[in-house]
Symmetry: C2
Subunit: 856 residues, 2 copies
């Protein structure tokens, strides 16, 4: 202690006049100063610059006057991480630094020997574990022998701990408080710079060379004779956002013990279930509440407080945003707005759009215990419990009995659509975030987990095998959490979504603010109703092929595929026409004069044919065709890369009758609705997979001809617009060409991403996780629009198409239409609308509102 006392330049004592910006000293330092400014009771504290964390390893930490004084006076201190972003995490807190035989002697009188023995023992254990990196269990053993947990012989344990420490480290347990602090600082620095910590925080968005602020703060002991203790409090329900005390207090404790030992801890407010701080120490409770009120006004947000009670006085240690679910988050901003603490705009900006997922889907009750048996990729949010079924028909059968099912498949195909409609959740062994199962599930709003590792589906014996050797059978209950990708055994209590009240008011604010349209993707009248329920400006994508997967229609479609003569083909088309017309009639009736964009048939014909030999045999029988003929046709239509095959407009060019039939169905339906209701139905007809303008010209000529025919047949004229789905890089590059022929362009960013990256969404799951983990891709480009590649194609296409047709309508109808970051991009590119699955439209509406606010 003979070193000269001097002020260490990278450490400041915090006070109400300190300038400690979060980016320099971390969030905790900033919070402490804020609380000090509000004159709240905060123990004295010192903060280290974030950058200094990289230096502790290399040189001795010079003593700092004020801090040295406290230590010399026998005041214990804590050492806490103060990361720039709370999400980056940080090393564990170390309490009671400075504890030694001298302090032991000083405190014995006030606290009693047993309590001080315990305090000293715990400090040695924590120091040994966190700083000297010894094994915590070796110290636990020292007190484990004690028969009565409430009557541990800490005196003996303390002595053994000191011996153990010396044996393991070769050094006596340090008695110099300053030495203890210096070792602790170095240890925290090295923990922060460990490889695992770096990877972890990088995953949460921290830069490679992120620093860490550190706070040394005088301990307010939570132990003593009188009302002493510590706790965590927020005065708002984390589940509902209502005003309500939430948290725990534990007498005679320190740090976050109250949360760790929740069962023995006290409630805050009076509670039937047990004792509370309000009863034990009414003045403590009312102080805490009034402090919370001050903090809410200070931060213009509900905060969670970390506090210590010292002999009946409340001391605050930290304030962090109050825990909240999505539902609570909305309730909170609405309340804060009503209190005039924030504006509507601030309220909108405060809610991360993705959090709405929690509200829009049933969720597993957070209070439930989760018994996880496997996990995969959460591909469609929400949760569901049901009986395992291994095929579509079992799902249909259960649904008809009113029973919930989870459809379990290796992967799904369009053949499974009916089963997917009937199931309550979908689990597939294979596939990624954009596999067939995932896309359909999101459209249907069903929870879905795909790419589940280490399970094995035995379709034949209807068994689901897990890696640990256990297995489940058809009819067994499981629960899926499509948000986290977890698969739980048995049934679990779910919380249903609530779309009225706060949610409605909040979405009204968003709608009032946003300038970009949000449409829903909807393939059937049911989907359209769902989209309307969630609130959309129109339908941005009707995928007509999904209309053909109903059993009866599928049969007609197959007749079409097997037709050898033009007559037979026309016969099949004549059967399909009224069905399609009916679909469109219903959709137009529902949507009235709102926009409806119908995509002409897109998938390759083989998608309508069965794959397994069994199914092919069944098809041959049902169609009364020789098996060899059916096999031949199936083989003929097989494709090596179906994504790049004879689909979309290529089908429209090579089998033009199909598009002609669809155009007729659209116009006839529109005429009928116009006649019935007097409403001006203005369908948008969209041509998929275009790569050259000539494709568009050819289809347009046919569609125009059908329009004239229908007009002259019905005497009713229907205005319509014709456009393309931009899915190939070439269509984007040739947008100025294509724009001359069309009224609108809608970007199919799923396929555009596939082609720009050369990435099959069905197969990418195999390496995507590794690619994102290794930061090869910033994000899965199927989840968030790749602004630098795919995004550039969008910008090029937007610029080029507007250069020849300034008022061309531009939209985006891939799954990115429901992704906030992608929506901001579309807003900046001046798109007229985005369209996504109905369940994601509220997210899109909020993101669009935020994009508008960011631009202002």
């Amino acid at each position: 202690m003979d070193a000269e006392l001097k002020v260490y330049p990278e450490c400041v004592e915090l006070g109400s006049h300190s300038e400690v910006p979060t980016e320099k000293y971390g969030a905790r330092a900033n919070a402490i100063v804020n609380l000090m400014k509000a004159d709240l009771p905060i123990p004295k504290a010192w903060a280290f610059l974030c950058d200094s964390v990289h230096k502790f390893q290399n040189y001795e930490f010079p003593k700092f006057k004020g801090l040295n004084n406290s230590l010399n006076q026998g005041i214990l201190v804590s050492l806490r991480a103060s990361p720039i972003s709370r999400e980056w995490g940080g090393p564990e807190t170390l309490l009671n630094i400075g504890m030694n035989w001298r302090i032991h002697g000083m405190l014995k009188k006030a606290l009693g020997k047993a309590a001080v023995d315990a305090l000293y023992f715990r400090f040695i254990q924590d120091f040994a574990t966190q700083v000297a990196r010894l094994d915590a269990e070796d110290f636990d053993i020292l007190i484990d022998g004690s028969v009565n947990k409430n009557n541990i012989n800490y005196e003996k344990a303390l002595k053994s701990a000191l011996i153990l420490f010396e044996e393991e480290t070769g050094n006596e347990f340090p008695q110099d408080p300053f030495d203890q602090l210096q070792q602790s600082l170095k240890s925290m620095a090295s923990a922060w710079n460990s490889a695992s910590a770096r990877i972890l925080r990088a995953a949460r968005g921290a830069p490679v060379n992120a620093g860490l602020g550190l706070i040394v703060q005088e301990m307010v002991l939570g132990i003593g004779d009188g009302e002493f203790g510590s706790g965590i409090a927020q005065f708002v329900s984390p589940v509902t956002g209502e005003e309500k005390a939430y948290g725990r207090y534990l007498s005679q404790s320190q740090g976050r013990a109250a949360m760790k030992e929740e069962e023995t801890a006290q409630y805050l407010a009076r509670d039937k279930r047990g004792p509370s701080l309000e009863e034990i120490c009414p003045s403590c409770f009312s102080s805490l509440k009034s402090y919370a009120n001050i903090v809410t006004n200070l931060y213009r947000d509900d905060m969670q407080l970390e506090f210590t009670v010292k002999n009946g006085d409340v001391w605050l240690l930290d304030a962090t945003p109050a825990h909240r679910t999505g539902r609570a988050a909305i309730a909170i901003v609405i309340r804060l707005q009503s209190m005039k603490l924030i504006t509507e705009e601030e309220a909108l900006m405060r809610i991360a759009p993705k959090i709405l997922n929690e509200i829009l889907h049933p969720q597993i009750d957070p209070k439930e215990k989760r018994v996880q048996i496997a996990d995969g990729i959460g591909a469609s949010p929400g949760a569901a419990t049901g009986k395992i079924v291994f095929n579509a028909s079992s799902a249909v059968a259960l649904a008809s009995r009113g029973e919930a099912s989870i459809l379990v498949r290796i992967e799904t195909t369009p053949d499974d659509i009916r089963g997917m409609h009937s199931a309550n959740g979908i689990l597939t062994e294979r596939g990624g975030i954009n596999s067939h199962a995932a896309v359909v599930a999101r459209t249907l709003g069903l929870p879905c987990v795909v790419g589940v590792n280490n399970i094995n589906i035995d379709q034949k014996n209807k068994k689901l095998h897990f890696e640990n050797g256990t297995s489940l059978s058809e009819g067994d209950l499981i629960t899926l959490d499509g948000s986290t990708g977890q698969i739980l055994s048995g049934s679990t209590k779910l919380i249903e979504p609530e779309l009225g009240g706060n949610f409605k008011q909040f979405m009204n604010w968003a709608d009032k603010t946003r300038t970009m349209g949000v449409r829903g993707n909807a393939d059937t009248p049911q989907d359209v109703r769902l989209a309307q329920k969630f609130g959309v400006d129109g339908i941005g994508l009707v995928r007509t092929e999904h209309m053909f997967f109903d059993t009866h229609r599928l049969n007609v479609m197959r007749e079409l595929i097997f037709a050898e003569k033009t007559d037979d083909r026309q016969e099949a088309l004549n059967l399909l026409l009224p069905m399609q017309r009916e679909d469109f009639f219903e959709i137009f009736s529902l949507m009235g004069e709102q926009s409806v964009c119908i995509r002409l048939l897109d998938p390759p014909l083989h998608e309508f044919l069965p794959k397994s030999r069994e199914q092919v045999v069944a098809l041959a029988e049902s169609m009364d065709l020789p098996l060899s003929k059916v096999i031949n046709r199936v083989e003929e239509l097989e494709e090596i890369n179906p994504m790049l095959g004879t689909r979309g407009v290529r089908l429209g060019i090579t089998v033009p009758e199909i598009y002609v039939m669809q155009a007729r169905a659209i116009f006839e339906a529109a005429c009928l609705v116009k006649k019935n209701t007097g409403r001006k139905i203005k369908p948008e007809i969209m041509i998929p997979l275009v790569s050259a303008n000539r494709e568009v010209e050819l289809v347009k000529a046919r569609v125009d001809a059908v329009a004239s025919s229908v007009q002259s047949e019905t005497g009713i004229s229907v205005e319509y617009s014709l456009g393309v789905m931009v899915e190939t890089p070439r269509a984007a590059l040739r947008a100025h060409d294509i724009a001359r022929t069309v009224d609108f362009m809608s970007f199919g960013t799923n396929d555009l991403t596939q082609m720009t990256y050369g990435l099959s969404r069905d197969d990418a799951g195999r390496f995507m996780r590794e690619y994102v983990n290794q930061e090869i891709y910033d994000e899965d480009p199927f989840l968030t629009l790749d602004i630098h590649g795919v995004g550039e194609l969008l910008s090029i296409a937007a610029d080029r198409s507007r250069s020849v047709k300034p008022d061309i309508l531009l939209g985006l109808c891939g799954e990115h239409g429901g992704d906030p970051e992608s929506i901001i991009f579309c807003h900046e590119a001046g798109f007229d609308y985005v369209s996504c699955s109905p369940f994601r439209t509220p997210i899109a509406r909020l993101a669009a509102a935020q994009a508008e606010l960011m631009k202002r």
Copy 2:
């Protein structure tokens, strides 16, 4: 005939001072004037402006003084098409317009009644058929009854013809020569404007509204008492280009009868096989020869002459470029250059690069009769005759006995590589111009026909069934023409390529001229030797995967795929390392200090696994693994869109050991060659399927590490460069990013085309023909680089990469590297080189020379 005679503005009489540019009056009008300018004997002729062809339908053709005079004087005329480009074709010539009873009377004395009856009858038949659109056969019947063909009763036939004409048309046969001419003009105009003619000439590059020049020319009768006749002559061999009279003359004939009735026609020069013009009329022959000489000097090219002999005098009617094969074409330009008629540059510009295909591969002897039994897409040029085999091992077996085989498969897979190496030609039922079979065949220089319609391959029974019910078995002989796509039955005489002499001299001119490099794609030392034989500046693409398809290596590769432990995997890699090293050693030894660009492993792992159940069972047995395990692994690796799957750098990232092994093999081989020869080996290492710079950084770090290791192990340092294959649109868009990390970029335009269009080269064959026919795509984009889409990505990438690294090496290594139009594009974009299969490198060298000349 009382209408006022006046000069019709759109028709001019041709003379040596006429200005009749080809684009206004067509090629024939231009040729006639050229011949007139050289004072050659040409009958009087009038030419109609090309545009007037669109007007004949709408108004009467006013009489034109000079022409009217001729007609009134009883001179017969011909009417011939004069298209702007000879390739556009045109309606058939009509001879002897003006023939009527009056002329009949006038000519009877000179020619004899029978000859004039015949002349009149033929004219009526031609006029009836071409102008009145009656059926030619109805007229043939009128003379068919005649027992002696040489003694037809034309008097009777003539009368019947006149009656038939009147019956069928309702009008008497027109006697007014002017009326005949006018009807003929209208008929030619309407034929030119028919839908089928428009489609046909559009396919040959004619614009939509193309006009047609028409020539009215006084007939020089080829019939008469004395030496009369007509013929076609060129004084250069169409096969070899040697100076030699080639053509036919037919006494007492008109028009092109000598070519139509070749068997009865006379030779031009003295010939053992029969009588010749040289013998019949020596002065005619020598005039013709001297005229030809004048014409050659006039056109600075060898021309074919259409001529008529009238009473021993030679009259010329037309001069068109002499017919010639590729081989002849080169001999001709070399002779013309030696005669100082043209420069080397002109010689280079005169040869269409694609014509070299004929020279580089064996061809079917043009004299052979072709018995076609089916046809498909000619996917790799040249011809081959051999025994049908249905699998790779039979091809290998035949080759070992020195017998030629044609491998017949539904489609080929990498498993067939050995068989393809052993076969002399490849025929696949499925696939397009860029299917596996096609690409490999072009690399190997094997003729290949793919996408053959209306055949059925019965692999099991080893039968090839044709639509007409016939079938061929294993061992039967067939012949493929990979240039035309024809499949001929039996064996056919082939002509072998000749790469010395004229060809060598011509290619030297090209190499002297071109500034852009031309490299060959070569996967094995054999390929490298082939590339050297054809003459290349380096190797632009070594596809290392092809090295693994040898049976022994394939087994090791499969062991690698099935390895569960790191040790097992390393063991397989340790076996592969020396094999790879040996490959590279040989290649480096052959190429010395010339550039060799090696692509790291590209295909997805499942390409190394068998597909059929049979093969899977065999694999399980040979690897001594449980069948279920093999099946599982095969299924696990299956991909829905393998083109967009886990291949290329994705494999390099997820299974890094493979690239590490390959890098080591490259460096060890390079060190060894350097040590042995003292030559500086500077390998180029290329990473395939890149879509983000981070992929390149990760692989680069590993490759650099291997390089250091090998250097410190061997004490030999090897300079190397690292680059990417730009195959995804994203890599092109992010070229400025990627360029920072790499030394070179090579554009893999096959895959880039697939992704830019969203087009699978394996599947596109199904609609590509229709797409090109309907002009949706100008050309199959796998054949000729799509300048407007894919090309723009190339330009973007070139600009962006040069903006950060001006001296970055840029190349193209797709099949487009052998396509002349694509090469011009690359030259304009300033690429350093193109690379293509060895057989196409001469084409590339010539195209590169032409590109350079065009730029000068």
